[in-house]
Every structure is written in structure tokens, then in C-alpha cells.
């Protein structure tokens, strides 16, 4: 009730002060009372669950840690020591290299490490708040890094085109990091530094870009000349395997499916009938077929339709199949997000004179993608796990590598330990993605309350 001060002739309204809530409804004790022991049945269930958890955890702990064997040369040794009561981690550690790199030669493994190192460094600017032009850096990483990374992994003869693309990729990487260093040290941009150093600062905007482009071209030519004689030994993709293959397939799948999915989703909502029909047909066709079928189609049937001169590589076929399949799924995820954007946003953008593409890229997509982050990351996690299916068409991905240990004479019959390790590894990868998506949701949504 309003607290009306009647003593004075003018009635003034004073709101009552806010009081703290009753003590046993807040804090840890309040939480436990409310959530775990709110009724006798709930108290019983809480205690029962705690007992079940204790039994499970203690048994796993005993098997995986207490009784485990870490040093052994064969499975026989493990069995002699503890029998089946303890895990034989020696088998996992002996095969660790294969789990990660497949049968890639030991002497060349640095190429894989370097490739992934470059990719991580290339993406790293995303985590520096002060860096500008993140979209350009990210786009360059996604669009041109595959040439450099692909050559590092596969090696062999470089054609003129590949050499050119590798040069551009290296130059773009150097430019990105020069830009990052400039941003971090002075808060300026690489463009501004180059423009002022070359004395173009007074020139109009559209002329200012020339020294930047010129420097890029010169650097690219230098890189092109330098790496002319440099060649890596060819590594047949049959040797690729383990986590490496899993990450390559799912990484490319992720990088392709998001943009392809956006394009397909926009196409499905397009007013132009040919585009719409094509997109609907593509999405519905590949969504109604299991991934295994698409993989088999790509690996066994597609070569039948190709001329004999073209001898497709199995991993490339599998990657294409995964990309097509995940794009179709991503398209529906994106469409769901697009439908959540109120009509008023489109109308406001149109009323301001924005063209279709500007409206989509500046107004609709930023909001829709933010809403879709949980679903998109969910698809990515699904994709990472689905890549285990490529083992069925004979690619030695992580899962097949984990199973291959048990066929090795020394470790014959060891199933549980490698699969347990694989489960933990997959869990860690997926959990990181999931946590990162939650982090993204928080940072991108900061300061915004939807009405």
C-alpha cells in the first residue's frame, strides 16, 4: 500500500524500502532444501541417486586408475599383472601416435602439426578484442588456408595454380598477423600504417587502397619465387588417419556447411521459383537419405559416372558427401532462425532503403545467427560425431583406428581401453564446442534485452 504521509497538507508518496528475502530460501542451504529434500520422496530419491553415483564412480575409478597398468609391451603382460580388473592403458599409449595421425610417417608428422598450428594462429585474432577487421581475417582463413594446409598434408607435385594459391595464402597469413600486431601495439590498422608510410594519406579514399594492394602483390611474388623450388614428399591419403582425418573431414564440413546452409536457406525463401525449387529439392533430397547412403553413393557410385582419366581420392569423395549432407541440415537450422526474426525488422530495413543483400547481411543474419548459435553448434557437434561413419567406407578415422588396435598381434583383443579413450576424447572435443557456444551466446548477446 502506498505510504501516504497525512501529517502535511500536501500528500507525498514515499515508496517502502526493499527488504532482503527470508534467510532459508537463499544460499546453498536454501537451494538444497528446495531442490533435493523438498519432500520425503525427494529426499529418498536424492539419497538413492547419490548411492548409484558412488557405486559407478568408485568402480570406474578402481578400473581406470587404481588397478590400471601404464607400462607394458603386450596385452599379455597387462593380463598377467592385473587380469581384467584394471585398464591396460599401455595399449593406448603405444598406439597414441596412430590414434592421432593414422599411418602418416613419423618423420613427416611435423607437417600436420604445422598445418593445424597455422590454422589456430590464423583464427587466433578472434580472441583479441582490440583487433579490427576480424571478418576479413576469418574469411581469408576459411577460403584460402585450405590450399596451404592441403598441400602441407598431401605434398607432391605443385602445379602453377597451387603454387600461386599457396603464395597468396602465405602472404594473407603474414598480412593478417602484421595487421594484428599493429592493432595490438598501436590501435591503428595495417592499412593506415602502409598508407601513411607511403605518403598516400592525403589521397582520396579510393586511391588509398593501391599501396596496400601493391605491397600484397609484391610480397606474394616474393613468396612465389621463394617457394618455387620447395617441394614436400607426397603422402598418399591412404596413410591419413585417426583424429587427423576426423578433424579434416569435420572441419571442412563445418566450414562449408554454414555458408552453404545460409545460401540454401535464403534460396528456399526466395521469391524466384527456379532458385526456390532447386533449394527445396536439394534440401529435402539429402535430408531424407541417411548419411551412410550418401557416403556409399559418393565413394562407390560417383566414380562410375566419371571419365576413367579422373581417379577420385576416397577422402575427397567422403568430404564432399559430408559437406552436401550437412549443408542440407544446416539450411533447415538457418531457416528456423530466419523465421524467428519479426516481420517488422524486414520492413524497417526496407523502409530505410536497404537493398535485399544489405538487409540480410546487416539486419537479419546477425540477429538470426545469434539466435541459432545453440542449434548451429549442435549441428557441428553432430557432424563431428557423424564423421565416424566414414570408417564404413574404409577411411581410417579415429574410430576405426581405435578398433584397429585389437587386431594388432601384441594387443590382440584390447577393446575397452581404446574405446574408453575415444569416448573421453570425443567428449572433450564436443564439450569444448558446447561451452564455447554458450560463451559466444553470452558475449554476442551482451547488453541486449529482446523485447
Amino acid at each position: 500500500m502506498a505510504n501516504l504521509d497525512a501529517s502535511s497538507s500536501d500528500v507525498t508518496f514515499k515508496p517502502k524500502p526493499s527488504l532482503p528475502p527470508p534467510p532459508n530460501t537463499v544460499g546453498a542451504i536454501g537451494w538444497i532444501r528446495k531442490n533435493l529434500f523438498s519432500s520425503p520422496l525427494n529426499a529418498f530419491l536424492t539419497i538413492l541417486s547419490l548411492y548409484v553415483i558412488w557405486v559407478l564412480v568408485s568402480n570406474v575409478f578402481e578400473w581406470a586408475i587404481l588397478n590400471a597398468v601404464w607400462e607394458a609391451e603386450t596385452r599379455r603382460e597387462c593380463l598377467d599383472k592385473v587380469g581384467l580388473a584394471g585398464a591396460c592403458w599401455a595399449g593406448v599409449t603405444h598406439w597414441m601416435k596412430n590414434f592421432i595421425y593414422g599411418r602418416y610417417p613419423d618423420a613427416e608428422v611435423w607437417r600436420i602439426n604445422l598445418g593445424f598450428g597455422i590454422l589456430i594462429l590464423w583464427m587466433a585474432p578472434f580472441w583479441f578484442p582490440r583487433v579490427t577487421g576480424k571478418i576479413a581475417i576469418g574469411a581469408s582463413a576459411i577460403l584460402i588456408s585450405p590450399f596451404l594446409l592441403g598441400y602441407l598434408f598431401a605434398g607432391g607435385e605443385k602445379g602453377l595454380f597451387l603454387q600461386l594459391m599457396i603464395s597468396i595464402a602465405i602472404t594473407a597469413f603474414i598480412f593478417s598477423w602484421l595487421h594484428v600486431l599493429v592493432c595490438l601495439s598501436s590501435g591503428s590498422t595495417l592499412r593506415n600504417v602502409i598508407v601513411s608510410a607511403t605518403g598516400f594519406a592525403a589521397k582520396p579514399d579510393n586511391v588509398q587502397k593501391y599501396p596496400v594492394i601493391a605491397l600484397f602483390v609484391v610480397l606474394a611474388v616474393v613468396v612465389f619465387a621463394l617457394q618455387g623450388g620447395w617441394q614436400l614428399e607426397e603422402q598418399n591419403t591412404n596413410l591419413w588417419g585417426g583424429l587427423f582425418v576426423t578433424l579434416v573431414i569435420s572441419g571442412i564440413g563445418i566450414a562449408v556447411s554454414l555458408p552453404a546452409g545460409i545460401v540454401l536457406a535464403l534460396g528456399r525463401r526466395s521469391k524466384m521459383p527456379i532458385i526456390r525449387v532447386f533449394c527445396v529439392a536439394f534440401i529435402e533430397l539429402f535430408r531424407s537419405v541417411p548419411l551412410i547412403t550418401v557416403l556409399f553413393m559418393a565413394v562407390t557410385m560417383v566414380p562410375l559416372f566419371l571419365p576413367e582419366a579422373i581417379n577420385p581420392v576416397k577422402i575427397v569423395q567422403a568430404i564432399i558427401a559430408v559437406c552436401i549432407f550437412s549443408s542440407a541440415y544446416m539450411a533447415e537450422t538457418v531457416r528456423g532462425g530466419l523465421q524467428a526474426i519479426p516481420k517488422g525488422q524486414y520492413e524497417a530495413a526496407q523502409a530505410l532503403g536497404l537493398s535485399y543483400w544489405k538487409m540480410m547481411t546487416l539486419i537479419v543474419m546477425p540477429q538470426a545467427l545469434k539466435l541459432m548459435i545453440p542449434n548451429i553448434v549442435g549441428s557441428f557437434i553432430g557432424l563431428l560425431k557423424d564423421t565416424t561413419l566414414v570408417s564404413i567406407v574404409g577411411l581410417y578415422d579415429l574410430l576405426l583406428m581405435l578398433k584397429a588396435v585389437s587386431q594388432n598381434p601384441q594387443w590382440n583383443g584390447i577393446h575397452t581401453e581404446p574405446l574408453f579413450f575415444g569416448a573421453v576424447l570425443y567428449f572433450v572435443l564436443c564439450f569444448i564446442m558446447s561451452k564455447y557456444s554458450q560463451h559466444l551466446e553470452r558475449t554476442l548477446g551482451a547488453g541486449q534485452v529482446r523485447k
Partner: protein, 263 residues
């Protein structure tokens, strides 16, 4: 209405209307499926004129002003804005849209952008205004709608009245010659209506051509050069506010006025 007394006290606003026609509607017809929402609408709007459009819901008043910037497509007749005839030519549509500002009932601010970014987005991306200049102009308009201190906040952090004023500033940043208002105060709490109307009155005084769909009859009496009453997709009656409110001619108008002025 409670605002009447207030309005009487204020000296009548000088009309900024000129003889130049900026919007011309000739026999405009529109259907939503089977529903005939606009029937043979003829209307000329003069430079600097302020028109208030009222009528019961479903009478086609919102549709009418939404046809002027082609948010809705008309199926018969001609709409000529600033000498450009609206047809399927996208260039014409874009040209007209950057000349015609629009304020919506539900504000439709972009929730992922700050207030300042909301105001600078279209000037930067449509008119290629340099960022610094666009920001300077946006701040000027935010001062005009009296919320420069909210520039770095997001729309979701503002009250409805503040959001609507930002929406007005956002439209003004494109330097429009004509402003369309689609029930700008209908979604607002009573205490916030006047802050938005004040901004609109000020805008009217500056000579802007305005078409306002509203039920704020006080506003109509105060600033309108002409009041248009619509029902069943037709213009039933149009007149100066004095004549419209004091001597309504058609029985439909009398009924409408008696209902909205009853309380």
C-alpha cells in the same frame, strides 16, 4: 478528450503547406486475397502538408501509407512520389524509400545495434556517408528527440517512448522529405505518449511533410492541415481539423467521432 484543454491554450500552428504536390495517388486499388482493402483512393499531398488519417481498424489506413513506400504493393491505379511512379522497378523503389521515412507502431529498432548504430546504419550503407559525418548527424537528431545520452545503449534497454523517439531520429538521419507515421503512439504507455507527440509536433513545425495514422485527436487538432477519415477502404471524408471535428458531414464520421470522443 483530456488533451483538448491543453490544445486550446496553445496558439495554432502555422501551416507550412505549399502548392507543390509531392505524393499523388490516382485510383489506387489493393486486395489482400479476396479482401478489397483499398478502393479507388485519390489523394494529393502537398509539400509541407500534415495529414492525419483516422478510422476504425481494418479501414485500410495503415495499408494506404504503407503503399506509399511500397511496403505493400498496390494492384490498381498509380502512386507518384516526388515525380517518380511506383512500379516493380527496384531502382525507383529504393529512390523513393530513401526519400520517405517511416515510423512504425512497434518501433522496429534493430535490437543488435546500439541507438547510435541504428541511426547511422542506413546513411552509411545506403547513402555512403562517411562514418564520422553520419555519427555527427545522428547525434544532432538524437539531441532533437532529446535522448543524446542514450546513444550507446541498446534498444532493449530503453522505454517504449524512448525507443519510438530513436525510431523517429533514425528515419530523420536519412534526410527524408516525407515522413509516414503508422500509429506511432498506439503501443505506448499513457505517460510516454506525450513525449513522442512533442517530438512529432516539433517536426511538424520544422516544415516536414507528414502523413500520420493515429487516434490522437488532440494531435490532429493541433498540427494537421487536413484530417482524412477512412472506412471500408474508402476515404469517407477529408477536411481541415476545425471543420472535421466541428461540422462532420457524413453520418459515419459523426458516429466515429462520437465514439472516440465519448470518454
Amino acid at each position: 478528450m483530456s488533451m483538448d484543454a491543453q490544445v486550446e491554450n496553445i496558439e495554432s500552428h502555422k501551416s507550412t503547406k505549399s502548392d507543390e504536390v509531392v505524393i499523388e495517388l490516382l485510383g489506387v486499388n489493393k486486395w489482400y486475397g479476396e479482401f478489397h482493402v483499398l478502393k479507388d483512393i485519390d489523394l494529393s499531398v502537398y509539400q509541407g502538408e500534415k495529414i492525419v488519417i483516422c478510422g476504425p481498424s481494418g479501414s485500410g489506413k495503415s495499408t494506404l501509407i504503407r503503399c506509399i513506400n511500397r511496403l505493400e504493393e498496390h494492384q490498381g491505379g498509380d502512386i507518384i512520389v516526388n515525380g517518380v511512379t511506383l512500379d516493380n522497378n527496384l531502382k525507383n523503389i529504393d529512390a523513393i524509400r530513401s526519400d520517405v521515412g517511416m515510423v512504425f507502431q512497434s518501433f522496429n529498432l534493430f535490437p543488435h545495434l546500439t541507438v547510435l548504430e541504428n541511426c547511422t546504419l542506413a546513411p552509411i550503407w545506403v547513402k555512403q556517408t562517411p562514418k564520422a559525418e553520419a555519427e555527427e548527424r545522428a547525434m544532432e537528431y538524437l539531441r532533437r528527440v532529446k535522448i543524446p545520452e542514450q546513444a550507446s545503449k541498446y534498444p532493449g534497454q530503453l522505454s517504449g517512448g524512448q525507443q519510438q523517439r530513436v525510431a523517429i531520429a533514425r528515419s530523420l538521419c536519412m534526410n527524408p522529405q516525407i515522413m509516414l507515421f503508422d500509429e506511432p503512439t498506439s503501443a505506448l504507455d499513457p505517460e510516454m505518449i506525450s513525449e513522442v507527440l512533442d517530438v512529432m509536433v516539433e517536426l511538424a513545425d520544422s516544415g516536414m511533410t507528414m502523413l500520420v495514422v493515429t487516434h490522437e485527436m488532440g494531435f490532429a487538432k493541433r498540427v494537421a492541415d487536413r484530417v482524412i477519415f477512412m472506412d471500408y477502404g474508402e476515404i469517407v471524408e477529408q477536411n481541415t481539423p476545425e471543420e472535421f471535428f466541428n461540422n462532420p458531414r457524413s453520418d459515419r464520421t459523426k458516429l466515429f467521432l462520437s465514439q472516440i470522443l465519448a470518454h
